[in-house]
């Protein structure tokens, strides 16, 4: 039996946990983080082994050991989700992510107000639970800035203190200063996407990525090997939490990471106070306890919701800190709609250069375009890159259905791959799906994980009228852009069933008051002031942008609030 005492215990050492461990350690607080996976090192990452990292998902949870189930509605039978896109080791998802690092738009933080002001209240679908965030872009801007500089993000400003700059994202919210690092080198995906979208009058730019384009903080520049999404970076140029904040946390002398530790309960007394956590050790032992003044729950959405549901007490019979009844509700996920352009007259060599969403237009995201008479609100980030977001042939074959008229196997398929693997680019529309209260994570009564705990179960179907119309609109844009490249073949992939994609958000929603949300803007639970839950689970709306930089900015903001306010005067921050 291991019982330890500390100031702060953090469940999960990823995008949230790493930032808080380092920042609170710097503030002189003793921090212990629990991590269910291992702590790997840069030299552990065999480069470019597509089978291991992309196809067999070596850096992601094994669905057989850590199942998550999904059903489209409460009447359907839940089935296992076969591919889990989040992290499973120290550094979390930032170890294997594509590193796309956005600041959300100003209107992403006030979707309800923005929509009503511009289109009237009737534009919001009646069954949607769209609300404004309790934090504004202006309030978060210094923390975005800190995250970009502290971690290392490469990009070009498009809006410097209100001055629009061509070549950057002219739709971005105003920033106080430029990115710390220049954009990554352009490849032929970028060249062709840029030419096509400019011809159409749009505003392309190099996607900001947490991959260093020049040596930075002792790490080498990107080598452009092309394997980011799904892979650990074999040179350490990806600004993952593993090579940034966990290193910082170690240096504070106040940080201890326990790997192989699966947290199964947040302990609390009935006075409305969290007392610590219990966890399964790597040897399967269950009697391991950490007592802490502050408990921070920081795993991915599924595990955050599940942990609170499993930690129910007499006082909170429906899940810890769930007096509002909103725990597990309003869950969202991005849908990635996909188009393809294949060329007869040029090579693209899609396997070169940092992968994921390489080049982007923001013209049809958020409320950057007029939605009047379109029949839907909110938009999508439209980007170009390899199919499957990394450039090897397995990902391309698995994620690029051949164009109409070409079979999926046999000589015709062989010839298609043979000719076009080096001559195609993929287009993705990453859609901002709205929150709905009946999109839920709860506990699956039929499926248990390797530790014997009930699996998280998601009830979710993106195919709402507002969402379906947006997908049709975005797919037409993908075709328009594809044709403008001059490609010989342009086509879209059929949209799949209602199963969730990646980038899940919601479930532990932040809000303005304890009645309609679980946490305040600091991730502090309304019910238990020394219990924080932080991550994309807090997002009231999803934006069309990848979530990680916003998760990190929120983490820096909370770290400041704990170090500067809570530490002196423990209690409600709001």
């Amino acid at each position: 039996m291991a019982t330890e005492k500390t100031d702060v215990v953090i469940v999960g050492s990823g995008a949230v946990g790493g930032v808080l461990a380092a920042e609170l350690g710097k503030a002189g607080m003793k921090v212990i983080a629990l991590e269910r996976g291992p702590r790997l090192r840069t030299e552990d990452f065999a480069p470019q082994d597509e089978l291991r990292y992309f196809q067999r998902q070596d850096l992601r949870p094994d669905p057989k050991r850590q199942p998550v189930t999904w059903r489209p509605n409460t009447g359907a039978r839940a089935t296992m989700i076969q591919s889990l896109a989040y992290g499973n080791q120290a550094g979390g998802g930032t170890v294997h992510y594509g590193s796309v690092s956005w600041r959300f738009h100003e209107d992403d933080f006030r979707v309800r107000s923005q929509t009503i002001e511009r289109y009237g209240a009737s534009a919001i679908p009646e069954d949607s639970s769209v609300i404004d965030w309790p934090v504004s872009y202006a309030e978060l801007e210094p923390y975005y800035d800190r995250a970009e500089y502290d971690l290392g993000v490469s990009g070009k400003a498009g809006n410097l203190q209100g001055k629009k700059i061509e070549g950057g994202n002219v739709f971005e919210a105003p920033r106080k200063r430029d990115y710390p690092l220049p954009t990554l080198n352009m490849d032929q995906v970028g060249v062709n996407f840029e030419a096509a979208t400019k011809k159409l009058g749009y505003h392309p730019f190099s996607t900001p990525r947490a991959i260093v384009s020049q040596p930075y903080n002792g790490r080498p520049a990107c080598s452009y090997c092309g394997f980011c999404q799904g892979f650990g970076c074999h040179v350490g140029a990806k600004s993952s939490i593993l090579v940034t904040k966990l290193v910082d946390a170690d240096k504070t002398g106040n940080f201890k990471l326990i790997t192989g530790a699966m947290c199964y309960r947040v302990n609390s007394d009935n006075s409305g106070r969290a007392t610590g956590v219990s966890y399964y050790g790597p040897d399967g032992s269950s009697d391991n306890t950490i007592e802490a003044e502050i408990v921070i729950v920081a795993p991915f959405v599924y595990d955050a919701v599940r942990l609170l549901l499993l930690s129910k007490t007499d006082r909170f019979p429906n899940g810890l800190a769930n007096s509002s009844g909103h725990l597990g509700r309003h869950v969202m996920s991005h849908l990635g709609t996909r188009g393809f352009a294949a060329f007869d007259d040029r090579h693209i060599n899609v396997y070169m250069g940092p992968s994921a969403q390489k080049h982007t237009i923001d013209d049809f995201n958020a409320d950057n375009f007029d939605h009047k008479d379109l029949g839907f609100i909110r938009g999508a980030q439209i980007s170009a890159g390899p199919a499957g977001l990394e450039g090897g042939p397995i990902a391309s074959a698995m994620n690029m259905p051949p164009p109409p008229g070409v079979p999926r196997w046999g000589a015709g398929y062989r010839d298609f791959l043979s000719k076009y693997y080096t001559r195609y680019l993929a287009l993705t529309g990453q859609t901002e799906n709205l929150p709905y209260a009946d999109q839920v994570i709860d506990l699956d009564p039929n499926v248990r994980d390797a530790w014997g705990m009930p699996a998280p179960r998601m009830t979710y179907d993106w195919r709402r009228p507002n969402e379906v119309k947006r997908v049709e609109f975005v797919n037409n844009k993908l075709l328009e852009i594809g044709r403008a490249t001059g490609a010989a073949h342009v086509w879209t992939a059929p949209t799949g069933p209602g199963a969730p994609g990646s980038h899940h958000q919601g479930g532990v929603r932040m809000g303005h008051n304890p009645r309609d949300s679980v946490v305040n803007k600091y991730g502090q639970t309304w019910d238990i002031p020394n219990l924080f839950v932080i991550g994309s689970a807090n997002f009231p709306t999803s934006a069309g942008f990848n979530p990680t930089l916003t998760i990190q900015a929120l983490s820096y903001m909370t770290a400041d609030a704990i170090a500067n306010k809570y530490k002196k005067n423990p209690g409600k921050l709001i």
Binding site: R41, T42, E43, F45, A46, P47, Q48, D49, E50, L51, Q55, R56, K64, N185, M186, D187, Q188, V191, P220, S223, Y224, C225, G226, F227, H234, V235, G236, R346, H347, N349, Y351, M352, G353, G392, P393, I394, A397, M398, R408, W409, G410, A411, Y413, R414, D415, L417, S418, Y421, T422
Partner: protein
């Protein structure tokens, strides 16, 4: 010299031939020569055992099952002059080894799927799948793909088709250490130069096929060192 070492030598010679075929005039023999010492220091978990080429025992599948999978995967990705297919890439060897390792929980899926496939072929054409002419095999695969083949319970016809398609893609394009993609056959087919640790701005500015296309696999790479 053990059989294992013979296979390794054949692999390395094949790698050089493969690189030459892909890179043509751009072949850099020095670079390949430099890779060989590193490669020979490494064990070859994906060695080319008998299941791939002859009627010996494999790691998972028996002789008849091997013949069925070999024939099926070759129809999914058929070889032609200058276009390596599943047999050229030794996709069967990849699947056989995977079923003894990472996919060992799918061996029952394969056994039952093959038995159902042959049952369907016997009922429809009076012959097992492997003995049917190619055009008939294509009809059978189409029936599986469309879920029209009868007699399938577990796995379903479509699940069996989809799994074989996925594993054929893996066996064609996964690094040769996993037992397929023999002599980089799959990478040569599509023009993937392999796991290059870096590309230059000039490489990325080119609208032509990659000029430095020396094929590099995991065993030819220098390991990442602690910095």
């Amino acid at each position: 010299m053990s059989k294992h070492d013979e296979a390794r030598r054949a692999f390395l010679v094949g790698a050089a031939v493969g690189a030459g075929a892909a890179a043509g005039a751009a072949l850099v023999p020095e670079a390949l020569a430099q890779q060989q010492p590193a490669a020979t220091n490494t064990a070859a978990p994906g060695h080319d055992h008998a299941a791939g080429s002859g009627p010996g025992y494999g790691a998972s599948l028996n002789v008849d099952q091997s013949a069925t999978i070999k024939a099926f995967t070759e129809r999914l990705m058929p070889g032609a002059p200058g276009k390596p297919g599943a047999t050229d890439a030794n996709v069967l060897n990849y699947i056989d080894l995977a079923l003894a390792g990472a996919y060992s929980d799918q061996l029952d899926f394969y056994r039952r799927g093959i038995a159902q496939l042959d049952g369907y072929c016997q009922a429809t054409y009076k012959e097992p799948f492997a003995k049917l002419p190619a055009a008939r095999q294509d009809e059978v695969i189409t029936a599986l793909e469309q879920g029209k083949a009868t007699g399938f319970t577990y796995p379903t016809a479509q699940a069996f088709f989809n799994t074989l398609r996925t594993h054929t893609i893996e066996g064609m394009f996964a690094d040769p250490v996993y037992g397929g993609n023999k002599d980089f056959a799959g990478w040569r087919l599509v023009g993937f130069p392999g796991a290059h640790p870096a590309f230059t701005p000039a490489d990325m500015a080119s609208k032509e096929a990659f000029a430095g296309g020396v094929l590099i696999g995991l065993q030819g790479q220098a390991p990442t060192r602690r910095t």
